[in-house]
Amino acid sequence: MSTRRQWWKTALGVVLTALMLFPIYWMINVSLTPGERMRQTPPDWFPTSPTFEGYAAVLRDQLPALGTSLLVGVCTAALTVAVAAPAGFALAKLSPLGGGPLHFVLVIAQMIPGIIMAMGFYSLYLSVGGLDTWWGLVIADSTLAVPFGALVFTAFMSAVPDEIIQAARIDGAGLWRTFRSVVLPASRNAVVTVSLFAFLWAWSDFVFANTLNGSGDVRPITLGIYRYIGNNDQDWNSIMATAVVASVPAAVLLVVAQRYVAAGVTAGAVKD
């Protein structure tokens, strides 16, 4: 009896997933549709006469952009962990003066609209020469993840038993060593979660990239997509092909690491 019910559920699950992923199918479909058929009514349901021009354009033009996105993503993750992890340790274990208000500030910081941040960064970078640099984008992108990261680290590190820390202290370890060689390793899941989110947010950021790195050679892949949306010309094959390519790393990473995603978000949100 139960196997029959199982199959029914699997079938329903497949149908639901197909519905959910239909826009992604459509994205791929459009990326393969030749330009002159693109705006016709009704649209082609299947790429019957696919064109690979879009993908050729991606391979030709966008490899450096993919490299930039990778660099920016990795560095954003590193910077986020570097700033957020010690802070999480302090908030979780050292009960600093003013820790409560700081916690509140971190929650609020997540809510500031990206546009406001972007405008601020633009005028800041104009005066310090941060426009169109990869490190400028790393700093800006990290603002998406640092408050979140600090909250996640706080939650995770609160769960590290005090006994372990005290053992390290008795062995004569200083605070910094305790943090580095005891607490941080014990919170490796948090490190993975925060890095993952920082990477993915940096990878998919468009607002900062467009405002701060709209020119020059340091263009991440989201701007690569935007490049095909010119003033008098829109190359949708290339736009959608770039979109497909840009989605692959994010999707793979997410599926592979979804265990951490779930654990991380919940920990950041629900302290127990």
Binding site: A82, G130, W135
Partner: protein
Amino acid sequence: MTGARARRVLTATALVLGLAAACSGPGADGRGGERDYRFWDPYTQFGDDSEWAALVADCGRRAGVSLHRTGYDGSDLTTRAILAGQQGSSPDVLVLDNPVVTTLAEGELLLPVDELPVDLGDFEENLLESGELDGTRYGVPIGANTLALYYNADVLADAEVDPAAIHDWADLSAALTEISAKGHRGITFAAIGNEEGTYQFLPWFWGSGADLEELDSPAAVAALRLWKGWLDADLAPNSVINNNQTTSWQEFETGTYGFALNGTWQLANARASGIDFGVIPIPSRHGGPAPGAAGGEMVTVPVQEDPRRYERSRAIVECLVSDDNLLTTDTVLSYVAPVEALTARQRAEDPELSPWISAVREARGRTANDLGTRYPLISENLWTAVGNALSGAETPQDALAFAQEAVTSDFGR
């Protein structure tokens, strides 16, 4: 093992911060050196390997500077230029869409052309006036374009419509009805809520005898009713409300539309599309061609802290607008040259440009007649009114009345 991982993370971070510090010296953004010049334009479609980029770089070389060209999205280039001006880091040469030149000039961000100086003697008067504020000129036209009606000859033949016989609005609407009766689509245009929407509407607005000083005149309402009537009768697709000129062009390229309202720059695409196309002027309400809006960009020189930089900026501008280079630029952009002698050469090289050259000569500057810096506000309210009327949120009469009210009360809706 995990300790090692954590250490790697920290090492990486240290590396990042160190490199960041290393990069942050002067010159990282290309404005450090005396010979480093910056050049901004709205041509994002041209990458570093384009003919346009090569031309810009070459002019920089001739002026003895290393010229860093950046293409920004047209819709936020204005804001970017203003912010840069505020921070005292304007580019040395700035190519701008013509209706915003006066706005930047009003902010004292641009150097008058006379002070460079560049000789404007040969340029067409109607193109120069877009860059004029209080009798002073701030921009050199780099090329011009305007709108006309492309038609699909096969569709028109099927509906037995003769494009040459379309002289006024009634003729055009009748033709659209014929086309629609044969199962084709009538016309597509772009009424998106930004400058493109206003730009597309102006030939009908002016062709009806309306004036930008009075958005709710009966003539203006008539023009908006014409568009609204096409949508209501399904002679134009509803998607025009969100169409920009590119999307609208893609609709035309499907081959199902009789007409498309589009610009000079689509000529190359039209040829490549395989559609048997032709071009007629936009008819005015009571007959004869309607005046379009003069489109196209201007080269400007933003104000710099160090006036010694102007000498080389002038050399760059002069190089860009020298006859041969101008012709190259306008060929690349598919624009009409802003100088009469050059249009003759263009006409000789490409007879199909002829109707466009005539249309550009008739085109009006959007900021002309002392509208100047008030134009952006008027335009914004006009495109909003067009969108509201076409989508059925308001009647054309009400929409335009609200727009006029909003213009006079300064703050948008």
